[in-house]
């Protein structure tokens, strides 16, 4: 379970980093999205990987059988903020495409 999660995060981060270094704006935004998925999973993972346990503290239940609720709350906030900023970035990309007529990140019109 841990291995699958760690591999998934690693692969997504690798792809994300490669993509944000690419010259086309669409690649950059896909890269940023992948990176933010990886980060969201990472935040989720720091609370410990547990399945089928509630994040609710009840009397008489040992804390070892509980999931940590804080990373869940954090990841929710991070998803919302990441979504909003990515949407905003998309608008800026479209504006840049409209103004420069190319989807190069520097607004250049290279043949390659």
């Amino acid at each position: 379970m841990e291995l699958v999660l760690a591999t998934a995060i690693g692969v997504m981060t690798g792809c994300g980093v490669w993509l944000i270094l690419r010259p086309r704006t669409y690649q950059v935004i896909v890269g940023l999205s992948l990176l933010s998925y990886a980060v969201n999973l990472f935040i989720f993972g720091v609370g410990g990987v547990k399945t089928n346990v509630p994040p609710i503290l009840v009397d008489d239940v040992p804390t070892t059988t509980l999931a940590d609720p804080v990373p869940q709350a954090l990841v929710l906030t991070a998803i919302v903020i990441g979504f909003a900023t990515t949407a905003l970035f998309l608008v800026v990309l479209l504006a840049s495409r409209g103004l420069t007529g190319t989807d190069h990140v520097d607004g250049r019109n290279d043949p390659k």
Binding site: I20, T25, V28, L32, L35, S36, V39, F42, I43, V46, G47, V70, P71, L74, T77, A78, I81, G82, A84, T85, T86, L88, F89, V92, L93, A95, S96, L99, T100, V105, D106, G107
Partner: protein, 543 residues
């Protein structure tokens, strides 16, 4: 609890937040109403932050911990007001008044929702200065960044959109690093509260310590991007010089926010204990590299906007270097430098727009720069109405000279006093009294060289703008545009005249920062407000 004054702590966040929401109800055509509401909000912020500063530094022992939601410290989010955050709040409020008044002449009308975004930027800044919780810091950081994306694009044009795109991409990546750092710290220590975190660090097992330090390092990168440390700073001069003048003016405080958080966290988390001095070398050598890069940039800049952008880097580099040494007396000089350079750079960004207005003499030089860095902005806003400033060139020239003196650190203005305070502490005539080491000599040389570079390029720019202007056209400058610039420069003058009390305040601030125990105990012992009769609640007294 000290009555209603205690609730003043949350006012710097609440007032602009409510005003920003309120402004959305007004149509863009009701520009005057929006401007007045926005201005009133910033004036309230000045009054509130002055009151907070007075209370904080007053004789009475002020409890600066504010429990949001009335949950005690490690469980709920806290706001903490101490001498440093009170100082930064006041600085932000003063800058916001000046830049907002400047924008009223024309800039606020060139796009939609300028005032809303401006107020939200203030929410983010003030929140980041006040919060005592790492994840809450992230939220306020994002509020500030989201507003700054909008403000940077304000006025549109290809140059701004391109600079804005780079700025947003860099900051989105930085936000992800921020999240990784925060979650690593949470994973190893189990807390996000800064005070609680500082108290827990000595008890971390060595194998977890490494992960915690890795988390802190990743977190630090996010702030260093904001502060503009050398290899992370290439976006900064372009973004700042592309922004419209009042926006660049308020952005001057944003790079200082990165410095503020690094100062706060290193003093709190790595001041003492097993990982004391963590990251100090990075700050020291990174600061040196930044100041060298900034100095070369200042010398190489043809356009005034880029000159100002590189001045931001020089100022960041100087501050980072000093944080790297982490010596009490030098740090208090650096705090004065922080205030002085922020005021200067903000005034300079606004002045540049006035000086370059309608100026064609430098067009050839500018054209070269524009070719290298993008297209010229075609759709500048139209001339505003209002009273024109008499004796324009004389006033502009004096302001320009004052900026030059401040940036290069010549007497008599506060730039000199701040640099003198730092240098004299470095040379050992100050508090430490030990002979300076080789590293310190390098710092001294770098600080002086950066001042000389600023002097050279400001003189060059001044001669080109004011003396060898070919056509002799006088820009039409309104009173409400030059007054904010003069106001900020007047503040540096006031800082010079009142340098004694100011330095005393900085000394107290640094002394309280270098004793994190006070901060930790204050946050941990903050008691929740007791319940009212008949209202049952589970959280009161849970400590």
């Amino acid at each position: 609890m000290s009555g209603w004054t205690h609730h003043l702590i949350i006012a710097p966040i609440l007032v602009p937040l409510v005003v920003a929401a309120l402004l959305l109800f007004f149509d863009e055509r009701q520009r005057v109403v929006k401007a007045m509401i926005s201005l009133a909000s910033t004036l309230i912020l000045v009054v509130v932050s002055l009151a907070l500063l007075r209370i904080e530094s007053g004789p009475n022992d002020f409890d600066g911990v504010y429990l949001l939601g009335n949950w005690v410290a490690p469980f709920g989010i806290v706001l903490v007001l101490d001498a440093l955050s009170a100082l930064m709040l006041l600085l932000t409020a003063l800058l916001s008044v000046a830049t907002l008044v400047f924008s009223l002449a024309r800039w606020h009308a060139v796009g939609a929702h300028f005032h809303t975004m401006f107020q939200l930027l203030l929410v983010g800044l003030n929140g980041a200065f006040l919060t005592g919780d790492l994840f809450n810091l992230f939220v306020f950081f994002e509020v500030m960044l989201a507003a700054s994306y909008g403000l940077l694009l304000h006025g549109s044009g290809p140059l701004r959109v391109k600079a804005g795109m780079h700025y947003i991409a860099v900051n989105l990546a930085a936000a992800l690093l921020f999240l990784i750092g925060v979650s690593l710290i949470y994973g190893t220590t189990g807390t996000l509260n800064m005070a609680d975190l500082a108290a827990r660090i000595p008890d971390i097992e060595p194998d977890r310590m490494m992960l915690m330090e890795a988390g802190a390092g990743v977190l630090g990168i996010a702030f260093l991007i904001k502060a503009g440390m050398w290899p992370l700073c290439f976006w900064l001069p372009t973004a700042y010089s592309a922004a419209s003048a009042p926006v660049a003016g308020i952005f001057a405080i944003m790079s200082k926010l990165g410095i503020y958080i690094i100062l706060r966290l290193t003093m709190l988390l790595f001041g003492e204990g097993p990982s004391a001095g963590f990251g100090a070398d990075v700050l020291l050598y990174g600061g040196m590299a930044t100041i060298i890069f900034g100095t070369i940039g200042v010398l190489a800049s043809q356009a005034l906007g880029r000159l100002a952008g590189f001045s931001v880097l020089v100022s960041s580099g100087t501050l980072l270097m000093v944080l790297g040494i982490n010596d009490g007396a030098i740090s208090s000089g650096a705090l004065l430098y922080l205030v002085s350079s922020t005021l200067t750079i903000s005034a300079f960004f606004m002045l540049i727009e006035l000086v370059e207005r309608g100026q064609d003499a430098g067009a050839i030089v500018l054209a070269v720069t524009m070719e290298a860095y993008g297209d010229a902005d075609e759709d500048e806003p139209e001339e505003g109405d209002g009273v024109t400033m008499p004796g324009t060139m004389a006033v502009l020239g004096i302001c320009f000279a004052a900026c030059g003196i401040l940036l290069s650190g010549l007497p008599p203005l506060s730039g000199f006093i701040a640099k003198f305070a730092m240098l004299s502490a470095m040379m050992g005539t100050g508090a430490i009294g030990v002979p300076p080491t080789a590293t310190v000599w390098v710092l001294v040389v770098l600080v002086i060289l950066s001042g000389i570079a600023a002097l050279i390029s400001m003189t060059r720019a001044g001669i080109r703008t004011f003396w060898s202007s070919l056509e002799g056209t006088v820009p039409r400058v309104l009173v409400i545009e030059i007054v904010p610039v003069m106001f900020l420069l007047f503040l540096t003058l006031a800082l010079t005249v009142q340098a004694g009390p100011a330095m005393q305040y900085m000394d107290t601030t640094i002394r309280s920062l270098s004793n994190p125990r006070i901060y930790i105990d204050a946050v941990r012992n903050a008691a929740a407000v007791p319940d009212y009769e008949g209202v049952s609640s589970t959280n009161a007294g849970s400590k």
